[in-house]
């Protein structure tokens, strides 16, 4: 899952992104509204966490532009003025959810995951394949009832492959959905992560390599 955090308060934005990454969500920062729109035009984000009071381009305008562009991107608005009128206004602009500041990270994460699930409505809350199970909310994967010790990145790769539901997922797609801008697209990060994941998943092998295509479960 890939998330864009549009927040002008740099320290807060960095803290949010650190927590999201720790939870296996690929996250990028945009410091103002214009940059936010520019980034959202390049990468197809699952969720945009949008501060309402942004310099250069107000959060409302960014939200309107994102909604007008269509697509599956969900918008979660953050605001420091949490009056009911404000929330109603924000939602009527097309925001999919609203969170007043100050917020709890647990709630922010839960809301981001809920929004991402709505973007792919067919996905069940717990992903399954044979004896392999993954609970995206609790960040837990099990195989034959045994809990797997996966790193956040490995868990995110597994989540994306399971969510693809048998479809072939290219390395580029994995790079865009699971890694954020901190990843270097020229490294063999994807391959090595897949290899580590395979080793941890054990036998029989679950992840199939499709020549010239990518990976599939």
């Amino acid at each position: 899952m890939r998330v864009l955090v549009v927040e002008d308060h740099a320290e807060l934005a960095e803290s949010i992104v650190r927590v999201l990454r720790r939870d296996g969500i690929a996250a990028d920062i945009a410091e103002d509204g214009e940059e936010g729109l520019r980034r959202a035009a390049v990468v197809d984000y699952d969720v945009v966490v949008l501060d309402r009071d942004l310099p250069r381009l107000h959060g409302d305008e960014v939200c309107r532009a994102l909604v007008a562009r269509g697509g599956d991107t969900k918008v979660l608005m953050l605001t420091a003025s949490g009056t009911i009128a404000d929330r109603v206004e924000g939602l009527s602009l097309g925001a999919d959810d609203y969170l007043p500041k100050p917020f709890a990270f647990a709630e922010l994460l839960a809301r981001i995951r809920a929004l991402a699930r709505r973007a792919q409505p067919s996905l069940p809350p717990i992903l399954e394949h044979d004896d392999l199970q993954l609970d995206p909310g609790r960040r837990v994967a099990t195989r034959a009832g045994e809990r797997l010790a996966l790193s956040p990145k490995e868990l995110a790769v597994l989540e994306h492959l399971l969510g693809a539901d048998g479809r072939v997922v290219s390395a580029e797609e994995l790079l865009e959905r699971v890694w954020d801008e901190e990843a270097d697209p020229f490294t063999t990060t994807v391959k090595s992560t897949i290899n580590r994941l395979r080793a941890k998943l054990g036998d029989p092998p679950v992840i199939v390599t499709v020549p010239q295509g990518g990976y599939r479960i």
């Binding site: 002008d8 308060h9 740099a10 320290e11 807060l12 803290s15 949010i16 650190r18 927590v19 720790r22 009071d53 310099p55 250069r56 420091a80 003025s81 949490g82 500041k101 100050p102 917020f103 709890a104 990270f105 647990a106």
Partner: protein, 406 residues
């Protein structure tokens, strides 16, 4: 039956009716009196040479005279009764007409009452806008409209202030909570990361304290002055420069002073805050290698402190906004280590107003801001004979009395 409440309409109607009744009765009385005097039956009995009327003739004349007089009395009485009836009818008609006329005259007043009653803090933008010629009622309506627009401005400012204050307080709270949670929920957190977070939270707390202190200063200076003591603006400016010039020197700023004695009266701590905020503003919104010009002195109409600084150009239309709470220039935002909350100049204005001083600010064409604060010359510490221009303001202890400059 319940008596109708003594409305102005009813009272006016009764007044009209009573006036008509009195003047009508007086008119009738006068008419009656004159008519009675002029319409009597005069019997002329010739004396002297022709007084050969027989006794019979005389008696006949007397009896017919008595008959005529009775008829006259009857017709006079009839006149009185008829007039009384007419007066009664006309009084009733005049009461009815009075009721209508009073209603018509009072209609604008009723409209005004109804409209005013519907105006609350949610629709302060509505106005009475009474049509018609310029008369007393229109005057009243216009006065109410003026009051409403002043209230609307004040309410708007208040609402903006509260919204901005909430925003300014919530933003660091959010960061505070985020940093705490981030560290607490981090399974790999080390003592060092806890230490770093604690230090950052402490710094954030100090920032919050400064913001709260600024808000309190603003609130208390808007309430007016609690005490009045003499101070010298030049001394306050010197004290600030002694403490703060290293900071200005670090930024490579040139400080150019011309400090003449400038005695005024008021709350010394607040005045020092005014000086500090103005100079702080001039230093922190400067450009590298820029200058700050500080002048104090006594002029004809009071003492003054003038601070001008180099800086980025300011659109002249923006200058007034800079004195509103939480306003910063253009897209300027607070950074993580910036303790300028956009309250500095609004505090300057509030303190100046509390002292009866006038703040003039203008954007300098070469960039930067020039602010002059003129204090009235105090009666009790200056020469009382000189203090003609300012004596009126010194006397006003409440800021509201001299707050006609926006």
């Amino acid at each position: 039956m319940r008596l109708p409440s003594p409305t102005v309409r009813l009272r006016l109607t009764l007044l009209y009716g009573a006036l008509f009744l009195i003047s009508g009765a007086a008119l009738l009385a006068i008419t009656y009196f004159f008519f009675r005097r002029s319409s009597g039956i005069n019997l002329i009995v010739p004396n002297g040479g022709h007084s050969n009327f027989s006794r019979q003739t005389l008696e006949g004349i007397e009896s017919s005279y008595a008959g005529l007089e009775r008829a006259h009395e009857r017709s006079l009485h009839q006149l009185l009764v008829d007039s009384g009836i007419a007066l009664g009818i006309m009084t009733l008609i005049s009461i009815a007409l009075g009721w209508l006329v009073a209603g018509r005259v009072l209609r604008p007043l009723r409209t005004m009452t109804a409209t005013t009653r519907q105006i609350s803090e949610h629709n302060l933008h509505e106005r009475l806008a009474l049509p018609g010629p310029k008369d007393e009622l229109k005057d009243l309506a216009d006065t109410v409209d003026d009051l409403l627009s002043r209230l609307e401005t004040a309410f708007g400012a208040q609402q903006r202030f509260v919204a901005n204050a909430a925003h300014e307080l919530r933003t660091p709270m959010t960061l505070w909570r985020a940093l705490l949670e981030e560290t607490l929920t981090d399974p790999d957190a080390t003592i060092d990361s806890f230490r770093a977070t604690s230090r950052r939270l402490l710094a954030l707390g100090e920032e919050q304290e400064r913001l709260l202190e600024s808000l309190l200063t603003l609130a208390s200076s808007e309430r007016g002055l609690g005490r009045r003591e003499p101070f010298d603006l030049a001394v306050l400016a010197e004290a600030f420069l002694r403490d703060e010039s290293p900071e200005a020197a670090a930024l490579g700023l040139r400080i150019d002073t011309a400090l003449g004695p400038a005695r005024a009266a008021g709350d010394t701590a607040l005045a020092a805050r005014l000086v500090r905020n103005l100079l702080d503003n001039a230093v922190s919104h400067n450009v590298p290698g820029g200058a700050v010009h500080i002048r104090t002195g006594t002029g004809a109409d009071g003492t003054f402190l003038s601070v001008a600084n180099d800086g980025p150009p300011i659109p002249p239309a923006e200058v007034g906004r800079l004195f509103e709470p939480f306003q910063r220039l253009g897209t300027e935002r607070t950074g993580p280590n910036d303790d300028h909350h956009g309250l500095g100049l609004s505090i300057v204005r509030a303190i100046a107003t509390a002292h009866g001083a006038i703040v003039d600010a203008e954007a300098r064409p070469e960039g930067g801001l020039s602010v002059e604060v003129r204090f009235p010359v105090p009666r009790d510490v200056g020469k009382p004979t000189v203090a003609v221009g300012g004596s009126q303001r010194v006397g006003s202890r409440h800021s509201g009395e001299s707050r006609d400059n926006p």
